[in-house]
Amino acid sequence: MVDVRYDIAFKLYPYEKVAAIGAAPVRHPVVIIGGGPVGMAAALDLGRKGTPVLVLDDHEGVGQGSRAICFAKRTLEICDRLGAGQAMVDKGVVWNVGKVFHGDQKVFEFNLQPEDGHKAPAFINLQQPYFEKFLVDAVREAQSNGCPIEIRGQNAVTAITVHEDFVSVDIDTPDGPYQLEADWLIACDGARSPTRDMLGLRFDGRVFEDNFLIADVKMTADFPTERWFWFEPPFKNSGASALLHKQPDDIWRIDFQLGWDIDRAKELKPENIRARVDAMLGEGADYTLEWTSIYTFQCRRMESFRHGRVLFAGDSAHQVSPFGARGANSGVQDADNLAWKLDLVVKGLAPESLLDSYSEERVHGADENILNSTRATDFLTPKTAISKVFRNAVLELAQKHAFARPLVNSGRLSVPCVYDGLSLNGPDELNGPARSRVGASCADAPVADGFLLEQLGGDFTVLALNTAPSDVADVDGIAVRTIRLDTRHDDPTGAIAARYLGDEPCGIYLIRPDQHVVARWAVADAADIKAAVRTATVRGG
């Protein structure tokens, strides 16, 4: 018996009876619980590297509801490496302009003004079901190319037993229960993670006493493709703040901040939602309600994202407020960080302790996201009388004076974190631009036939700029690729020189499979590169 918890938007992995029922438990190298954006990204990454991976999901596809709608450049770059990015960008709505209102006054507008010379846009809006579908499409493509990925729909995990060097998993299906074993288990089962509860692990943080009503409406309106945000909106009963943002298929996301003491059932009645939407869009606006929901949120994380053979990724490990698009985006970065490490561990090329760096680095990322989204929430929902006085003072001043605009916080939009000072980092011996320092994710840039990140791919890579690289093809079995570029010929816009060299004539970068910088030098020999690869894989420098 498998409970149906939600309706499906796309049926992507219909239930099939598993041969394992009634047989002895089969051991799998990697099992992922939860086929959402994080689980699918991790499965795709591992499978494309040749590590067999099994995804268990208790439904047969993607749940309904737009949910995470805002996907950031780094996420799109990761998905591009996984073969799903272009479909997302093609379907998504690209936006750059945001307007901030206070009551009926426009406070200011901003333009993200994305830097030129990146393959991916700064942000797209895309309903989460599409995002997940494109990942599963890429899984199917990878499977047809022989990648060892399996997805089992309507396989619900009911118990987990952790042993010293493997995990036993009890699973229920429409045809009855069975058991399997996993060398490694990745829990991508969301903010209410049953895996976390089954292991009795804590998930501490701060609860925000507020309810947000989402109304996705379908209409052909000539509002521009912009993010409109109201503090103390002027429309009737619209709460403390409101947001209007465009999605594909003529769908508009409207959010109303309703406060804490509400009657959920009453607020979710279509006639009550329509009254609010009518007040916002104007009487007689022609629209249909596509999806509605009320959500509350917390900012919290697990103390560690690794518990022996069990790894937590995405919302199961950390939860943030939605302001800033840091939920799904940071989860995909978790998958990006974990997959190459687990792949090396499974293949016996790196020690298990490499997985501790997954927790170290992504806890760092989660703390940054929680800090940013907590600050945004405190601005949106002032907790005391004086904090509201200051908040409104900022909004009033921002209408007249540029200085106050950077203080307005309706969500600081997700950017990838830099792993400054963490254990996998090698030497930073190039006086290059700060943005490309050790620990940063590589900035994209045009090359002769495409973009740099496409060329980096998903291996350790030596990027030699205006210098001959030391010839390292392999470090103790770990492949190292080399890309040599001469910025006089291979840098059509000058972006590579600007983003990687600054005023330096030449440089050598060592880049991880997740495209973060391990080390950089003005001059490096083979021994330097080998030592840095060993540091980045926890085998001693």
Partner: protein, 60 residues
């Protein structure tokens, strides 16, 4: 630079008069809002985070 806590305002009585005068006719809420705006304007002028932190400490 350090936070200057020595006398630094010319014509202190005149300044004090102007400060109070700016609140003339304002309700309590309007005065609170005015003070908040004034703090933000002055803080931006100072800019230096270390000085601002020292000022927050000095005002306690």
């Amino acid at each position: 630079m350090e936070l200057n806590l020595a006398p630094n305002i010319n014509d202190p009585d005149g300044f004090y008069d102007e400060l109070l005068g700016a609140h003339n006719g304002l309700s309590k809420d309007e005065s609170d809002a005015f003070n908040a705006r004034l703090i933000l304007v002055l803080a931006n002028h100072i800019g230096d985070r270390a000085i601002l932190r020292a000022a927050l400490e000095a005002a306690k």
